[in-house]
Amino acid sequence: MSKAKVATVWLDGCSGCHMSLLDIDEVLIDVVQKADIVYGPLVDAQEFPEMVDVTLVEGAVSSQDDLRLIQKIRSRSKLLVSLGDCAVTSNVPSMRNNIPTKVLLERAYVQGADVNHRPPTDGVPTLLRHAVPVHEVVKVDIHVPGCPPKADAIAFVVTELLSGRKPELAGKVKFG
């Protein structure tokens, strides 16, 4: 049996969900036996592969780059999993949403700066007006809430997926 292709991606989040993913202990061995991690912060690949079976997404969609990336990922992934509250609810990244981006950047890079009093322009992606949950921009198949999601929950989701089942999380995970 060929191995499943699994990718992870880190959008606007703190990497806590990836940490929690690493916390699934011995299940990791199972995962590595059944799947190849083909893309993500944990591996080297630079370009998102053409066909991926499952992609776990951490983080909210906050910038133009996030948006383009997630759209590409969606078109190349069979199943998309929102992993953690930032992906599911936009969580902490959304706390800037009721401040206009221009005001926000001014506050951070002009008023709050000691040197170089201007918002960066080169090599930084343009912020979207709102940081939004992943499912507001592309279709998401499974939501795993939690900040971060408990390792148990992640282990359950991964195990179920690798066994070819769609995990049913309603009532099993804390929301909000």
Binding site: N91, V92, P133, H135, V140, H143, G176
Partner: protein, 236 residues
């Protein structure tokens, strides 16, 4: 002397005090009907609509909190439609304000969160509104953060009905509705507030909290207030 009557809830025959609400009767019998605006001891306002149930022979859904029990009533509290509607209501609440639970003092001790978990919410279908709402830290002991307010009006009622101070009210209408202190004063400038903290203890979320607590540290105890209200016969 209130008499006993019997009603059927989800097929099970239970005894109830005549004059009691369906919700109280169900809770007394150990049945779970979700609710957020209801608090024992306070008047019922029927605002959150989470407690809607089906009553045989009635064409529409009825809120359990404001429907008095009647002998022989046959009530359904759980079915697919009710579960769907209740989940939708919770999703709407999350989408309305900025419930960033990860940074909330009441995280893990929040009735909204607990209910969402219990009713199986794993995401919100509706686009988040991200409104700009006020945070009032002017009170010496307490904080008010409308990002987390669900407009259940427990604070309004507990202050009026139990404390008798009438500090809280709701201003404006529709999605523009906001909790206000007196005639839109800062809480710290309130003339009526006795700083008793009943509103804080009654608040189901982190919208009203005591100062000095960090994330996840604030726990609430509404039960003593309910007991007090019952003792004083505010709303039995």
């Amino acid at each position: 002397m209130p008499s006993k009557i019997s009603i059927r809830i989800d097929g099970e025959l239970i005894n109830a005090q005549s004059g009691a609400s369906l919700l109280d009767a169900a809770l007394a019998a150990g049945k779970f009907i979700p609710s957020l605006c209801h608090m024992k001891g306070l008047s019922s306002v029927g605002a959150c609509r989470l407690c809607v149930v089906e009553v045989a022979g009635v064409g529409r859904l009825l809120p359990a909190c404001t429907t008095p029990v009647q002998d022989g009533m046959n009530v359904t509290t759980q079915n697919d439609k009710l579960r769907r509607y209740r989940r939708t209501i919770l999703e709407l609440l999350f989408a309305e304000r900025n419930h960033v639970c990860a940074v909330c003092v009441s995280n893990n001790h929040c009735e909204l969160q607990a209910l969402a978990t219990r009713l199986g919410v794993t995401s919100v279908r509706f686009p988040y509104t991200f409104p700009r709402v006020a945070v009032d830290l002017s009170h010496r002991k307490f904080a008010q953060d409308q990002n987390r307010c669900i407009l259940c009006t427990r604070c309004v009622r507990v202050c009026a009905e139990v404390e008798g101070a009438h500090v809280w009210n709701v201003v404006s209408r529709g999605v523009g509705s906001r909790l206000v202190c007196e005639l839109n004063r800062n809480w710290g400038d309130s003339r009526n507030c006795t700083s008793c903290g009943k509103c804080v203890q009654s608040c189901p979320t982190g919208a009203l909290a005591e100062k000095g607590f960090a994330v996840e540290e604030m726990t609430k105890r509404p039960e003593p207030i309910s007991r007090l209200a019952n003792l004083r016969g505010v709303h039995s």
